[in-house]
């Protein structure tokens, strides 16, 4: 399973990690949405079907 690095104090409701290319990935447990940030730009924002499972795979890439 991917190692999750905690990048900021976002509380227990938002998980945050980083892909190998530096993209920051956040998963909001309250809404089930996943966001991917590249610098100041959000390159993806959607509600994945498998929710947190997808987040775990993205931060493992």
């Amino acid at each position: 399973m991917a190692q999750l690095e905690h990048w900021g104090d976002l509380g227990d409701e938002i998980a945050e990690g980083r892909r190998s290319n530096g993209d920051v990935v956040r998963f909001d447990h309250r809404t089930g949405t996943l966001g991917v940030h590249r610098g100041d730009v959000i390159i993806a924002w959607f509600r994945p079907d498998e929710g947190f499972e997808l987040y775990l795979r993205e931060v493992a890439k």
Partner: protein
């Protein structure tokens, strides 16, 4: 007349919902999602990087269900396994293995990437990870 779900369907849906799947949560629907995704990959996947990542996760859900002890007792699981294996056999030849080395080797459908794709996925994978993927400009037969 609305037919209630079978005990297998009810158990399958309860299991995958517990994992976080929030729609298309029957065995048939998840299998169809996996099969349709592979069919699109055979032609050259036209979506973006994250649409691909979302759709390929259907195989992860199927794997979890196939490994779940509480579902093993249902005879429908044998049928599901065979159908998944049939789709897997079509997907594996499309892959370059071990592209995402941070993904567990047991999740080969996630660890590998398709050898060819539409221009959008090819461009995004190149930008994100440096992968060189053949761009499909015409539908393959």
């Amino acid at each position: 007349m609305i037919t209630p779900p079978s005990p297998f369907d009810a158990a399958f849906t309860a299991f995958v919902r517990g994992r976080g799947l929030w729609r298309d949560d029957t065995a048939g629907a998840v299998l169809e999602r996996w099969s349709s995704f592979v069919a699109e990959c055979e032609q050259g996947y036209r979506g973006d990087e994250f649409a691909y990542a979302n759709e390929v996760m259907s195989r992860t859900t199927l794997e979890a269900a196939m490994r779940e002890p509480s579902l093993a007792r249902f005879p429908e699981m044998g049928v599901l396994r065979r159908r998944v294996a049939d789709v897997d056999a079509r997907f594996k030849p499309l892959l370059v293995e071990h592209a995402f080395r941070g993904i567990d080797v047991d999740e080969w459908w996630l660890r590998g990437i398709v050898r060819y794709a539409g221009h959008r996925l090819a461009r995004e994978w190149k930008q994100s990870f440096g992968f060189d993927v053949e761009v499909v400009r015409h539908s393959r037969a």
